[in-house]
Symmetry: C2
Subunit: 245 residues, 2 copies
């Protein structure tokens, strides 16, 4: 509430209670709350410190850098994406993709963090890796094909949803106005399908939208994407194949 540091307790030094004022969990939770409520741009070390009523440098006692803090936010967001292990491999993949999307939908403003920072960093979720490998092994994938399938699955899981919830430029309003007049500018001879479908696509389709999945979800497209990928995977050869690098 106060202007800049807003210290609940004044003066330097260790707090008097014996217990710390801050904690890593509290910092991560506050950061995520800021992202959820005010958008990704409102998140910074300093804004988290402001919200917690401490100096920015106090944050650094619990986390070594902005990047690591982001990594910790990601692991919180991606909690509980693993589906029930009892499912058939195809249903399991469908559930995995859906649960991943649901996790992002719960914190849409955090989506770019994951897409940009690579799924990796920080704590490797070994259970996720093993589970994907296990289900693909169930499906019959072996050797280099198994690893390629693993990468294809992770890429597919993260890829679509990251796009769906991608951040928009801050001048979304001008983008909207731009697209409002767009149908009139289409040359029906050169772009007949676009001319015919623009009414349904403006504001709802990639490249022609000004809002992201938080307000304009692409549920139908996502379902089709998952279905195409999973059923397509079933029709692929499952052995051999070159390694990636």
């Amino acid at each position: 509430m106060a202007k800049t540091p807003a210290p609940a307790r004044k003066g330097r030094g260790r707090p008097q209670n014996g217990a710390p004022d801050l904690s890593k969990a509290q910092i991560v939770a506050t950061a995520l709350r800021l992202i959820d409520e005010k958008g990704l741009e409102a998140f910074s070390i300093r804004s988290v410190a402001r919200a917690l009523g401490c100096y920015p440098t106090a944050i650094y006692w619990y986390t070594p850098s902005r990047h690591v803090l982001i990594a910790e936010i990601i692991t919180v967001v991606l909690r509980d994406v693993l589906p029930d292990a009892g499912l058939d491999w195809q249903d399991w993949l469908r559930a995995l993709f859906t649960r991943y999307r649901a996790a992002i939908a719960r914190h849409p403003n955090a989506a770019p963090l994951i897409g940009v920072t690579l799924v990796s960093n920080a704590s490797v979720d070994v259970d996720l890796v093993e589970a994907v490998l296990a289900k693909l092994h169930d499906a019959g994938f072996r050797g280099a094909s198994l690893i390629n399938a693993y990468n294809a699955v992770i890429g597919a899981m993260v890829g679509f949803t990251t796009q769906e919830f991608a951040m928009l430029p801050p001048d979304a309003e001008s983008l909207r106005e731009d697209l409002a007049g767009f149908p009139d500018r289409i040359d029906a001879n050169r772009h007949p399908l676009l001319a015919q479908l623009s009414g349904q696509m403006i504001g709802a389709a990639f490249i022609l939208r000004w809002q992201n999945g938080a307000t304009q979800p692409m549920t139908g497209a996502f379902a089709m994407y998952v279905e195409a990928f999973v059923t397509g995977l079933d029709r692929l050869p499952r052995e051999g194949g070159a390694a990636s690098s």
Copy 2:
């Protein structure tokens, strides 16, 4: 070369030749060159100005904001992704994905810009939209299914490659060291497949890598991903389906 503004010409006012010193194309090209050569983090309005030997605010004469400049960089990177229109719809989609990936591979450090900023903004590439719609119409998709398929295709095109070329944290070295000792920490009882495959996966697979597609391309995984998606798309119902929103 000079310290801060490094003006080739001194003093204020309009240049004497009659021709401007700068141009939008030059600014975009310089920005992209900086990104390619020194990484995305080295790109800023101020760094571009430094490279051009002008004041940062001179950049604003040609572009209204950082976001718009980024949008212009994106359109340059994504030039020439459209494949030959004569191809069969499935081959055309394969070619589209491959050409998109090749474009990103030419400027890997720019990958996060596209993934984050949404494919949209700035100049809508109507030819791309129309071409995708046309090929999916060729495939028999109609109505809501056509639009869903369009979104699935764009999401698939951008999604995987964005992940493959996602930026890594600046402390990649410590990540590498961390992952070097990773195989020894795997409990072979709890994670048997990971224990067996970690040797092939460390450094080359999502979540277990410390480099991105610029140095560790996932060619095999990408091929499998494309193949699964395209052949899967062929087996989907092509009419009806609910709209997304």
